[in-house]
């Protein structure tokens, strides 16, 4: 945009308010223009403040009713329209609190973080589509359109290249459309090839279609859009068959793959007390790689007592551990011998640039989910480390491909008690060292270890009721306190706060319609849709597939 053009645009904008006071630290206070309607000003709205030399991009954080005279408040005017309109703007007025985030010098095309504030009476105006494009970029291959600012049509884009450089979080209470949002982001990653994905799909939503309770139709998912690029692995082939999903592979986990630390993580699910964890370490030390199977094969009673005596373990405690761990035998995917090296298949697929969705079918117990996710991730992460080290030694700086691992119920893996043992805690902390990042999906971010959540680069946050969850979801972001007010005012559905590394400034958006989005992605994948905007936004005019 040229500055001349910018000037022209400036005159077309509708004035909302004029700045009357403020500071860089606290933000700006502006008085609402007399012809502006307070009810039009929704918290989170994206606006522009026009200084003399700079334009400041900002969002509305609060709206306040003020009175010049206390008497007005003590005796509100009679219910005559004339009385109320005569007071509006004279004795009663409205102020708007704004937080400028970015500024743009008039002659420049690049936005910078704010370092100053506009002067008195600077005009606060509606943002235009050009402003949104200037700040959030135009949709493109790795610029993914996710939605638009409140009351606007322009695209707000997620910079996928930056997105995958860190671990990220998607938070929101149940029923906010979290899983639809995650599917959109994953589709973006697949389409743009910004990362290969491994999805631990606890509720069978990310591979094939799932039932959408709100629209009462089946919502398509990654495999339908990208076909051969996405492989579905399953832990429960019978469930897949019932849902008419043809999985690419069935996943087995061998007992010998289970390490003591994997089980330590499952303390609560397996009812293992902290005191029993050293016993498991001792078991694996004494019995070697097949410790678990050998231990479970011991007969309760004499065998166990003898073993306890020989190794200096408490017999009663060992018997309890034996009972608890016996539950693992009920998991159908856990095999005595490795019949198929599932990890190897998954790694191969990922290295070849394919995306893997691991369905759990009816194995949706946390025990199964956490056990499998942790074991597979530990092994895959190990492989990625090896690949990375080899690649660095050979000067291949782009290998292995950037990997994003999506986990649900993340607080189970990343709680303060478990995050130090779980591989996920390690991945979140080591950042992009080995080209592996997490996409953490959770409805209770307060359950996640503080150290881990402050490492999350980009947050996509839907409505959260609990105050602790709101705090946690924003932890580590600048201005987190100010942003809580935005969170508090989110619609329960299809509205999210985007903030962090992949966004130039935090913003509340109305999320694009899932079905339209997906039908566009599918048509594109099939080569039917071409155009400047690969994400063909709301205004794209394409009807969703029935």
């Amino acid at each position: 945009m040229t500055s001349g053009n910018g000037q022209r645009v400036a005159f077309e904008r509708k004035t909302i308010a004029h700045v009357i006071q403020g500071s860089l630290l606290e933000g700006l206070v502006a008085r609402l223009a007399d012809d502006a309607d307070v009810e039009d000003l929704r918290v989170g709205r994206f606006v522009v403040v026009e200084g003399v030399r700079n334009r400041f991009f900002s969002s509305v954080h609060d709206v306040k009713l003020e009175a010049a005279n206390l008497a007005v408040l003590k005796a509100p005017p009679p219910s005559l329209d004339l009385a109320r309109t005569s007071l509006a703007g004279t004795q009663t007025y409205v102020t708007v609190e704004l937080k400028p985030k970015l500024m743009l010098e008039r002659s420049e095309n690049e936005v910078h973080p704010v370092k100053t504030i506009p002067g008195h009476f600077a005009r606060v105006a509606e943002a235009t589509d050009e402003d949104v494009a200037l700040v959030f970029g135009e949709p493109g291959d790795t610029m993914m359109r996710l939605g638009s600012p409140l009351e606007m049509e322009a695209a707000v884009c997620l910079d996928l290249e930056r997105f995958v450089e860190r671990s990220n979080g998607v938070f929101g209470k149940t029923g906010t459309g979290k899983s639809f949002l995650v599917r959109m982001v994953l589709a973006g990653l697949v389409r743009s090839r910004a990362a290969v994905n491994l999805v631990f799909d606890m509720h069978n939503e990310y591979g094939w279609e799932s039932y959408d309770e709100e629209t009462r139709r089946s919502a398509p998912s990654l495999k339908q859009a990208f076909d051969a690029e996405v492989l579905i692995f399953t832990l429960d082939p019978a469930s897949s068959a019932r849902r008419k999903v043809t999985p690419d592979f069935e996943v087995h986990v061998a007992f010998r793959d289970v390490e003591a630390d994997d089980l330590a993580l499952l303390g609560r699910e397996l009812n293992i007390r902290d005191a029993q964890i050293p016993a498991m370490w001792r078991l694996s030390e004494v019995l070697g790689a097949d410790w678990l199977l050998e231990f479970l094969s011991m007969a309760p009673g004499d065998d166990l007592n003898a073993f306890a005596d020989a190794n200096g373990l408490h017999a009663g405690s060992l018997a309890a551990l034996h009972r608890n761990l016996s539950r693992l035998r009920k998991l159908p995917f856990l095999k005595e011998t490795g019949t198929d090296d599932s990890v190897e298949r998954i790694v191969k697929a990922l290295l070849a640039g394919k995306h893997v969705v691991l369905e759990f079918g009816r194995q949706t117990s946390l025990l199964a989910y956490m056990l499998v996710a942790n074991i597979l991730t530990r092994k895959i992460h190990g492989r990625w480390q090896t690949e990375k080290e080899t690649a660095v030694a050979e000067g291949r700086h782009n290998d292995p491909p950037q990997l994003t691992i999506t986990i649900e119920e993340a607080h189970k893996f990343l709680s303060p008690e478990t995050s130090s043992q779980s591989i996920f805690g390690e991945i979140a902390r080591e950042m992009r060292k080995y080209n592996v990042g997490l996409l953490v999906v959770d409805q209770r971010p307060s359950g996640i270890d503080e150290e881990v959540r402050s490492q999350l680069g980009t947050r996509i946050i839907a409505a959260l009721d609990d105050e602790r969850d709101q705090h946690a979801a924003l932890a580590g972001l600048p201005d987190a306190t100010a942003m809580r007010i935005l969170l508090n005012n989110l619609e329960p559905k299809k509205q999210v706060l985007l903030a962090g590394y992949a966004l130039p400034m935090p913003i509340v958006i109305d999320v694009d319609d899932y079905y339209t989005f997906f039908s566009n992605v599918r048509r594109q994948a099939a080569g039917a849709l071409t155009g400047a905007d690969p994400w063909a936004g709301r205004g794209g005019g394409s009807a969703p597939d029935a």
């Binding site: 010049a68 005279n69 008497a71 007005v72 005796a75 005017p77 009679p78 005559l80 329209d81 004339l82 009385a83 309109t85 005569s86 007071l87 509006a88 703007g89 004279t90 004795q91």
Partner: protein, 193 residues
């Protein structure tokens, strides 16, 4: 006698801010709050009628009660009409000279014995395009300001053909003007609706 046309009174006392006039006919003063003008040699002085009074000519002799119906009184005491007069008090709100109109006080007060006439609707519209007259009226201290301000706004609206937008603008000006006296502002606004 063309200058007598539309004449409703004659100035008998004048200062920079106010003038008093005797109505051309007893009991026929201009309406309270209406807009009047005085044509003098130096220009036109515009004002708003701020009070009307009918009393005996002779301040030493007060009118007395007769206890009879009006028709009978006029028939039996016809001289009475010659002994009383109607006087009105006007607040100056602006002046005009050589085709211009100013919403502030004139350099000189009107001359005594100049004639007072009512403003035409066009003149009222021009005078009240700026709401400065509200401020001038509001600055009075010796008359019921809320009554005067609301009457003047009602008269102006009437002359403008019942202009609601004007009333609402004027009400805002009142609220702004009396921001320190909310009760007064509201009592004026109530009188406008």
């Amino acid at each position: 006698m063309s200058e007598m046309n539309g004449m409703i009174g004659e100035v008998v006392q004048a200062s920079t801010t106010r003038f008093r006039a005797i109505a051309a006919k007893v009991f026929e003063p201009p309406r309270f709050g209406s807009f009047v003008k005085v044509m003098s040699a130096g220009g036109r002085t515009y004002g708003v009628v701020a009070g009307v009074e009918t009393a005996s000519f002779d301040s030493a002799r007060r009118a007395m009660a007769f206890g009879m119906p009006w028709e009978q009184l006029i028939r039996e005491q016809p001289q009475l009409m010659e002994l009383i007069q109607t006087e009105f008090d006007t607040v100056v709100i602006g002046y005009g000279a050589e085709g211009s109109l100013h919403h502030f006080l004139p350099p000189y007060p009107p001359r005594l014995h100049d004639f007072v006439s009512a403003c035409s609707p066009t003149e009222v519209a021009a005078l009240t395009d700026s709401l400065e007259f509200v401020r001038t009226l509001a600055s009075l201290r010796d008359s019921p300001v809320h009554e005067l301000v609301s009457a003047a706004i009602r008269e102006a609206s009437l002359a403008r053909g019942g202009d609601d937008a004007f009333v609402s603008e004027a009400a805002r000006a009142v609220a702004e003007l009396f921001k320190d006296d909310y009760d007064l502002a509201m009592s004026i606004v109530r009188r406008l609706s």
